[in-house]
Amino acid sequence: MTKPSRRDFLKIMGASGAALLAGRPAAASQGHQVSNETLGMLYDATKCVGCKACMSACKRVNGDYGSLAYEKAKFDSDGLWDAPQDLSGSTRTLIKLFKESDRSWSYFKYSCMHCQKPSCVSVCPVSAMTRDEVTGIVDYNKNACIGCRYCQVACAFNIPKFQWDKAIPQIVKCDLCKSTNLRQKGVTACAEVCPTGAIMFGRRKDLLAEANQRLQQNPGNYLNHIYGEKEVGGTNHLYLSAMQFNKLGLPLLKNEAPAEFSEKIQHTIYKGFIAPVALYSTLCYVAVKNKKKGEEAPGHGADDGKAGEGDHGA
């Protein structure tokens, strides 16, 4: 048996001290709770045939409400095709083809991940980005948004897009058809029209169960990884694929949500607004004392010797 070292002792004291200061059990402030009852989608890249019906349905359904527009390609002066190159201020969802070789390729669909602990919601200064506690939908309210684009800086997936060419711009991102298809038909437009079942809409727990089942039944067909199950604290949009996710444009991410880290620091500094008030009162005390001292002996502050032979009388 080893005696507890001094360092261990300090650690324990520090931890219990911190817990006391926090005023509640340390466990409560650790991590957010992942909810599997929330709504989401499972995209299975191995089933996708790249027909882009999802993209066209998204624009048809959300065009007016979500300020979406068709994007012309350079060769297409008549505007016959909608040809977005990437997610943009006109496009909420997009299918891309990644081709390594003639035998190794994959389609891939992009849209908002609907994080369980979304960075965009954490950083929005005016609560224009919100996460619905029940449905888990991360939604955007243009009537609150000031257009600071902090959500874009914060999002690890680069999902929120800004309308750079408009005098009255807004942020564009997927809201799971919250006010359109989901409200009318109970399913997102992209999942509704997908002819191959590559997009599945449902509750997160059902989607996870389905994904695990597919992985078990066809282990050779997939990478053994459900992207979004753990990444950045879990997302409601989940992915299955045969190709490495980072080759498909999804970043390799840690399981901790970035918002956990930043909020922890921000909350430590501003807990109960005690630190700023304490700072202000201390400084007031010092400054008033200095002022009184100065009035008693005009022209002589607590000078620092050499530089202080001031000839500036009051």
Partner: protein, 429 residues
């Protein structure tokens, strides 16, 4: 501490530099108008990968640090009780006021939906998790505080004014167009003077509490400017992404603040042909290296702790910018450690300039250079985007130049001899 420590700078307002600055300002503001008509994309190279460009990086994140002269001087004078620096404070506060006011203006140009900014004042929209929320409220409050701190200069002038320019303009107007002077004008002007005289002693009484607020607020929002990038853990290079960002930004703004106060004093004495305030500046320069040493130690310690020292020395793109920033700050501080160099205006200027450059580069590194949103994204400011920033800076210098000539801002020259000397030089020029 009376108000008679300050004086107007007696000189012509319409100088050649005034014209140059005016032209730059007008170009900048014309482009701002274009931005509001055609969208941000029409004047800038910002993109969905780099949603924050030069406006946020320079005008806001760096500009407010450069505007921290007022903050640094207030700490020195009112908290560390070095009252002999008091004569220098008004010009520091004036530049801070311009810096912060124009940072606020830049934000309004930069944000896409500025008409929604009233949401900051609706408690239902408050979002305490957001560093941006804290920065926005704090900067708005601090700009107000700076205006209040500067108010005595305006009140003193109002109290003593004889409205000569106004009277002259009215006379001219009358002669040209035949418009008669409004009735009871003199009476009204008199009441403005009385109001100023009534307000000044009352403001003086509570001023110390406003000043202290002007020290608390920058402490809060300058650290929060660092906190803004805490969330970007996947985009900001590990050389700069650390939990110490708020602390590093806070110390950074302090040493930039003192250094910029030195630079401002040297430049304005040079430009306005006044004797240099060498002794005060040397005293101030003694504080700076201690701040930079703490900052450098935190930087190194943090890199070592996170195992990034090798990355810092790897001489790749990021490492070079890191080393440049580090060497500029360290080099400037080394010069300032030497007592002899501190007594020389030239060396003071050089070392302060190095430190301001290094400190500003640190902020650029955090906001732009070390920020990588992923493959395929690039950013370099567009000409129009740069010209808007240039216009705003030009307006800042222009406003300073004009205000020191119509309000008592600069330290009073003390002896008859000093005064004559300054006059002589000014006349020769």
């Amino acid at each position: 501490m009376g108000h008679d420590e300050f004086q107007k700078h007696e000189a012509r307002i319409f100088t050649p530099s005034f014209l140059v600055l005016l032209v730059l300002t007008l170009i900048g503001f014309g482009l701002v108008a274009l931005r509001f008509v055609k969208g941000i994309g029409a004047v800038s190279n910002m993109s969905d990968g780099y949603p924050w460009g030069i406006w946020i990086t320079y005008d806001v994140a760096t500009g407010t640090a450069i505007a921290c002269g007022g903050y640094a001087m207030a700490i020195l004078v009112y908290i560390r009780n070095r009252m002999h620096y008091h004569p220098m404070i008004r010009s520091a506060i004036l530049t801070s006021m311009f810096g912060y006011g124009l940072a606020g203006f830049s934000v309004m140009v930069d944000v896409g939906r500025p008409w929604n900014a009233y949401n900051f004042f609706l408690p239902s929209k408050w979002q305490a998790n957001s560093a941006m929320f804290e920065v926005a409220l704090c900067v708005m409050a601090y700009t107000t505080v700076l205006a209040l701190e500067f108010l005595p200069a305006i009140l003193t002038t109002l109290e003593k004014t004889e409205w000569r320019t106004l009277q002259m303009l009215l006379d001219k107007l009358h002669a040209r167009t035949g418009i008669t002077r409004p009735e009871r004008l003199d009476e009204r002007l008199e009441s403005v003077k009385e109001l100023a005289a009534w307000l000044k002693p009352r403001l003086d009484k509570v001023l110390i509490f406003i000043i202290v607020l002007g020290i608390t607020l920058p402490t809060m929002h300058q650290s929060s400017l660092g906190s803004l990038l805490l969330i970007a853990s996947t985009k900001l290079h590990p050389l700069w992404h650390t939990g110490f960002l708020p602390l590093l930004f806070l110390i950074n703004c302090m040493f930039i603040g003192y250094s910029i106060a030195i630079l401002e004093s040297v430049i304005s004495c040079y430009a306005f042909k006044r004797p240099f305030e060498t002794r005060e500046l040397a005293g101030m320069a003694r504080i700076i290296p201690w701040l930079t040493v703490i900052w450098l130690l935190v930087v190194i310690g943090d890199l070592a702790w996170r195992g990034q020292l090798a990355a810092a020395l790897s001489l790749d793109f990021y490492s070079r910018f890191f080393l440049l920033e580090f060497c500029l700050v360290a080099g400037g501080s080394l010069l300032m450690f030497s007592g002899k160099k501190r007594e020389s205006i030239r060396w003071l200027f050089v070392s302060a300039a190095l430190i301001v450059l290094g400190g500003a580069l640190y902020r650029f590194n955090v906001y732009l250079i070390g920020f990588n949103p992923g493959k395929g994204w690039h950013y370099f400011p567009a000409l129009a985007e740069l010209m808007i920033t240039v216009g705003i800076v030009a307006f800042e210098i222009l406003g300073y130049q004009v205000l020191v000539k119509i309000l008592p801002v600069l330290p009073k020259l003390h002896t008859r001899q000093q005064h004559d000397q300054a006059h002589g030089v000014a006349e020769k020029a």
